[in-house]
C-alpha cells in the first residue's frame, strides 16, 4: 500500500454531511481547500498589515504576487481587463498555493482532481461568455468569425473557432489536473523504488541511490511545475478574458 501511487489521491471523508441523498461531506480535499484559502488570505493580509512605504520582506512578496498578476493581466487584456483583477488574482493564488501545498508529504493536492480544475475552468469560461454578451451583445459572436478570411472559408473557420472555444474549458482544466496528477504519481513511483530496492539488501541500498537522485530532481521539477501551471492557468484566463473584452480579433 505504501507504494500505491494512486493512494494519495483518495478522497477521505472527515465529517460526513449528507443533504437530500447527496454526499457533501467535509473531506481531506475540503480540508486542504480551507487550508489553502486560510493560509493565502492570512499571509496576504498579515504581510501587508504594516502598509509600509518601504516594504518588509513578506510585504514585498505580496506586492510581487500582485504586480506579477497585474502585469500578466494588463499585457494580455489591457487596462480594461483590470476589472477582472480580483478574479484572476484569486485564481492564481488559489491554484498556486494549492499546487505548492500538494508538495508537502502526506498533503492532499486539491488541483489533482479534474472536477476541481474543471470547475475553475468553467468559472473562467462562464465569466468570459456572460461578460462577453453583456458588454458586446451579439457582436461577441464575431469572436467566431475572424476578419479578413475569404468568404468561402468562413464556414470552415467558424466551425474550427467554435470547436476551439468549446475545448477551452477542457484543455484548461485537463492541463492543470494532468500535470499535478502525473507529477505526483511519478514522484511516488520513484520514491517507491527507493523503498523496494533498499529492502533488497546491500546491493539494493546502493542501487536505490539512482531513484533517490531522481526523486530529488523530480521534486525540484514539481515545484517548477506547481508554479508554472498556476501561471499558465492565469495567462490563459487573461487571454480568454481579452476575448470577452475585444471579441473581434
Amino acid at each position: 500500500m505504501a507504494n500505491d501511487p494512486i493512494h494519495q489521491f483518495h478522497i477521505q471523508t472527515l465529517f460526513p454531511i449528507e443533504v437530500g441523498g447527496m454526499d457533501f461531506s467535509f473531506t481531506n480535499s475540503s480540508l486542504f481547500m480551507v487550508l489553502t484559502v486560510a493560509a493565502t488570505s492570512a499571509f496576504l493580509i498579515f504581510s501587508t498589515s504594516g502598509r509600509g512605504l518601504v516594504p518588509t520582506r513578506l510585504q514585498s512578496i505580496s506586492e510581487m504576487a500582485y504586480e506579477f498578476v497585474a502585469g500578466t493581466l494588463r499585457s494580455a487584456a489591457g487596462t480594461e481587463g483590470m476589472r477582472f483583477f480580483p478574479l484572476v488574482f484569486s485564481l492564481f493564488m488559489f491554484v498556486l498555493v494549492a499546487n505548492l501545498f500538494g508538495m508537502f508529504p502526506y498533503f492532499f493536492t486539491v488541483t489533482s482532481h479534474i472536477i476541481v480544475t474543471f470547475a475553475l475552468a468553467m468559472l473562467v469560461i462562464l465569466t468570459v461568455i456572460i461578460y462577453g454578451f453583456m458588454r458586446n451583445g451579439m457582436k461577441f459572436l464575431k469572436l467566431f468569425v475572424p476578419s479578413g478570411v475569404p468568404a468561402a472559408l468562413i464556414p470552415l473557420v467558424t466551425l474550427i473557432e467554435v470547436i476551439s472555444f468549446l475545448s477551452r474549458p477542457i484543455s484548461l482544466s485537463v492541463r492543470l489536473f494532468a500535470n499535478m496528477l502525473a507529477g505526483h504519481i511519478t514522484l511516488k513511483v520513484f520514491s517507491g523504488f527507493i523503498v523496494s530496492l533498499s529492502a533488497m539488501g546491500a546491493v539494493g541500498i546502493f542501487g536505490s541511490i539512482l531513484p533517490l537522485g531522481m526523486t530529488v530532481a523530480l521534486t525540484a521539477l514539481e515545484f517548477l511545475v506547481a508554479f508554472l501551471q498556476a501561471y499558465v492557468f492565469t495567462v490563459l484566463t487573461c487571454m480568454y478574458l481579452n476575448d470577452a473584452i475585444h471579441p473581434s480579433h
Binding site: 488570505s41 486539491v110 475553475l120
Partner: protein
C-alpha cells in the same frame, strides 16, 4: 460513501476495488461520487477567498502601491521644484554678481579718469609755471647779453681810442671811431 471505505484501512485495498468499480472507475479523480462534495466545498472556499481578495487583500495592496507611487511622484516633483528654486537663486546671484562687477568697473574707470584729469591739470600748471620761468630767464639772459654787448662797444671804443692815441699820439674823433667800430663788429 466510497471515500469513507477507502480511508478505513490500508489492508482493505482489494476489498475497496469492488465498490469503486461500481462507479465505473477505481481511479479517485474519476470517482463521481466525490464530485458533489468537492464542488460544494470548492464553491464555498473559493467564494470566501474571492470575497477576501476583492474586499480586503487587493484594495490593500493596490493602496500600498498607489501610495508609494504617489509619494515617489510627489517627492520627484518636490525635488524638481527645489531644483528650479535653486536654479533661480543661482541665476539671481550671477546677475547680482555681474551688476556688481559692472559697477565696480564703472567706479574704477571714473576714479582713474578723475585721477588722470587731476594729474594732467597739475602737470599743465607746473609746465606753464616752468615755461613762464624759462621765458623770464631767457628774457633776462637776452637783456644781460644786449647790455653786455652794448658795453662791449664802449669798452672796445675806449680801448681802440687809447690804442690809436698810443700809436699816432692823437685821439681819433668820435665819429671816426664809431664808424670804425661799426665796420669791425659787423
Amino acid at each position: 460513501m466510497a471515500g469513507q471505505t477507502h480511508s478505513t484501512t490500508e489492508g482493505m485495498h482489494e476489498a475497496i476495488e469492488v465498490p469503486a468499480a461500481e462507479h465505473g472507475a477505481g481511479f479517485p479523480p474519476f470517482d463521481s461520487t466525490t464530485f458533489a462534495s468537492q464542488l460544494l466545498w470548492l464553491a464555498i472556499t473559493f467564494g470566501v477567498f474571492y470575497w477576501i481578495m476583492k474586499n480586503v487583500a487587493v484594495p490593500r495592496i493596490s493602496g500600498i502601491l498607489e501610495d508609494r507611487r504617489d509619494r515617489i511622484a510627489g517627492d520627484i516633483s518636490e525635488a524638481n521644484r527645489l531644483k528650479e528654486e535653486t536654479d533661480a537663486a543661482i541665476a539671481a546671484y550671477e546677475q547680482a554678481l555681474a551688476e556688481a562687477r559692472n559697477k565696480a568697473h564703472g567706479i574704477a574707470h571714473e576714479t582713474r579718469a578723475k585721477l588722470k584729469a587731476d594729474h594732467e591739470a597739475r602737470r599743465e600748471k607746473v609746465e606753464a609755471e616752468l615755461n613762464g620761468k624759462l621765458k623770464e630767464a631767457e628774457a633776462q639772459i637776452a637783456a644781460t647779453k644786449t647790455d653786455a654787448l652794448s658795453q662791449i662797444g664802449d669798452i672796445a671804443g675806449e680801448s681802440a681810442s687809447a690804442l690809436v692815441e698810443q700809436l699816432i699820439g692823437k685821439a681819433p674823433t668820435k665819429t671816426d671811431l664809431n664808424k670804425a667800430l661799426k665796420s669791425a663788429m659787423n
